[in-house]
Symmetry: C2
Subunit: 339 residues, 2 copies
Amino acid sequence: MVRVMLDAMGGDHGPAEAVAGAVEALAADHDLEVTLVGDQTILDGLVSQHPDVPRLMVRHASQVVGMDEAPATAVRSRPDNSMSVGMRMVREGQGDAFVTAGNTGAALAAALFELGRIRGIRRPALATLLPGLQGSYLILDIGANADCRPQDLQQFGLMGHVYSSRVLGVREPRVGLVSNGEEEGKGNQLVKGAYPLLKESGLHFIGNVEGKDLPRVPADVVVTDGFTGNVLIKTAEGVAALILGLIREQAASDLRAKVGGLLLRPALRQALTRLDFNEVGGAPLLGTNGVVVVGHGRSRQRAIANLIRVGAEGARQGLVEAIGEGLAAMADVVGEASA
Amino acid sequence: MVRVMLDAMGGDHGPAEAVAGAVEALAADHDLEVTLVGDQTILDGLVSQHPDVPRLMVRHASQVVGMDEAPATAVRSRPDNSMSVGMRMVREGQGDAFVTAGNTGAALAAALFELGRIRGIRRPALATLLPGLQGSYLILDIGANADCRPQDLQQFGLMGHVYSSRVLGVREPRVGLVSNGEEEGKGNQLVKGAYPLLKESGLHFIGNVEGKDLPRVPADVVVTDGFTGNVLIKTAEGVAALILGLIREQAASDLRAKVGGLLLRPALRQALTRLDFNEVGGAPLLGTNGVVVVGHGRSRQRAIANLIRVGAEGARQGLVEAIGEGLAAMADVVGEASA
């Protein structure tokens, strides 16, 4: 039985949506237990509406972190917030994974404080799946570390490799490095420093990748610093909105286009589902001493159920232990290479 | 009369396309002279096919820089290449602007070598226009400097301001800074260092902007380092290709969608025109002692005519002098602020 702790107070849509997500996840997975962490009164009320749902529990947390609060301050000044309480349960072995659709920065701060880092990992990283034409791929870091060292990017490559192979089931994942050109030697100082480290890491490193490769990206894991990664995924979001806005504008311009737009709509909607980040399933935080998955604040029931599924899978596949083992194995390879 | 030097050997489509672009530009602008720089024999042959086109000249250059060559080496080892020859004519007052659809890195290297920097500018930057729903905006640097200092970003803001107001005719351009969050204090070390410098620059600085703001970006000039800027524009390109690929795939999935796609096609094509980088008009190199505009290697006749138009406009508006004056004025403002 995998036990997932769900922050029931995080996200834009409140506890009702979190409970609905938990109910959906429990229906799909009979080897799963979900604990809703948050205000006992509110949560008991919501849970009582699902008397037939088994394996759904409540754990009281008297405080909450708001979506727009300064993360570190909020987490430190209110130690009984639902995130910190849930993570503490994981640390103490009462839970196997923690998931939240709340304040991302607060989740990072709380994870570093409550769970700490896996031995040898300098910087935990946030990862997410991006859609491509031939399936999706993992990108990290997308925002946990605005400034990185080359060695951090090597560790991101390893953690991405472990997540991709263990949780996503990719056999021998190919690892790429985001750069401003494909050739070795292209990049800023950080990328130029990380390239040789990834090359000697024992990972299946395929070299630099560029943003224009995104539709048919040749990698399963794409590594970058948290600043560039954040700009990259937000640009992807912005450009998608821009193109759909332009198409919508043009499709309203004359009758022929209007009719065309109506006929094409179901197919368009289908195409957009494949671009929807919520469907793809949250951002695992890799490198902390416990499985943590962070979802978008606007996550609805389906997306929250998905977060729970991802968290459960991370725990089942022994993600934390595998990263630790991978790190040790990489140190051996690098040691041999330089010996 | 504005005299534009056109690298007739650069670009994927060769001299014939360059000549066609020059002919198109000359037809639209009677106060323009174009000198084709490159192999005299080839160019004379092409020009002789347009006996009625006035103000079209040839300047021989015996060497060429290939599209995929290592820029600095190629430029230095072959000083009679068409780029260096064209830029030397600008330096010596025989031309007012230089434009090329050739190897971007080589154009940068040749410009630094042949034209040098405007006094006070540490790093020239490549700028380009990106499309938004309410018109386009300027972004720089998109690749000239992979590593930057905060002061460079301040200078990019100034150069973007000058280009936007002088050449694009924007009254009091708003300047934004690419970051991983909108609030002041968000960013990597570089962005955190550049923010106060832009704030005290006397420019109309509106703070941080994010990639998700791209469709309705609140700035006329967007400043970033050359690594991030390059990743950003290539990601935009990649996502556009991805979405259109998904739509195309879905639109072929059933009869209803097929008919809809056919009816919508002219409107879609219209929407895509607004996204086409070639139409928008090349990348001006800002900060060198002479007007230089670099176009995409795949530029065709129309795009080359556009490069010539942009180069001519830069020369007419006294871009180089205006950047020098703006830099002096900014130094005064900053001096007063810190006095």
